[in-house]
Amino acid sequence: MTVVFWISAVITVISTVMVITRRNIVHALLYLIVSLLAMAVIFFSLGAPFVAALEVIVYAGAIMVLFIFVVMMLNLGERSTQQERRWLRPQMMIGPAILAAILMIELGYAIFTGGSGGPITGEPVGAKQVGISLFDTYLLGVELASMLLLAGLVGAYHLGRSDRSEEEGS
């Protein structure tokens, strides 16, 4: 499982770098889907098969389809790619890269001097145990998550209305 972990980790990092450097939105979305699928393989190799399935179904399936719907509705084409070419210059990467490198050094220092690490056995924790924990210990969290989803639904509906109905309402 270690080899699987490292191969998919390299794929994840490379495709994430491609996501933040592409100019065409659809290419970036495809790389993001590859990144999420590789992340699902990582979860599987870490012994979390239920979460790996959820990653494929919800992230790579549902959320990415939402992005693709919006890109299709906006009808972005060559014009958008040329605009990105004007906006995204290589020298703009320098400042954020330095900040992120400092953050990474700090994080590595904190992780490697923290001392509470150790090997991951990779023993699978299946859907049954996750379900028992979810609906027993974290039942209140499930209720709050349902309220959050309801608020997101209502908010998206309100924001997504067309301008015509807004003018009629006011």
């Binding site: 239920f50 906006l74 954020p96 924790v125």
Partner: protein, 102 residues
């Protein structure tokens, strides 16, 4: 069998989070900013799952499910905002929305 250590998993989560942060800081297109936020949320979920499977407990996976829920709600509202922004300003530049006039 040599296994993955917890530090290595957390470093991978940190690298992905930093890449998402670079994406948020560099990009001006609002769809790319939303995608970078998804990357950052996914990286934090990876950190939870790594910690959970290190202890052999299901709590990390439960936290990942909550993060997944939050990401779904956030992206629904965010993409509705993207559509509104495009209808108002005919561009995806986030700087176009810097003047809020109600």
């Amino acid at each position: 069998m040599a296994s993955v250590s917890m530090e290595q998993g957390l470093i991978l989560a940190g690298v992905l989070f930093a890449l998402g942060l670079i994406g948020v800081l560099v990009r001006r297109n609002i769809i790319f900013i939303l995608m970078s936020i998804e990357i950052m949320l996914n990286a934090s979920g990876l950190a939870f799952v790594v910690a959970g499977s290190h202890q052999g407990a299901a709590d990390g996976q439960v936290m990942f499910i909550f993060i997944l829920t939050m990401a779904a709600a956030e992206v629904a509202v965010g993409l509705a905002l993207v559509l509104q922004l495009y209808h108002r300003f005919k561009t995806l530049d986030v700087d176009a929305a810097s003047r809020m006039r109600g």
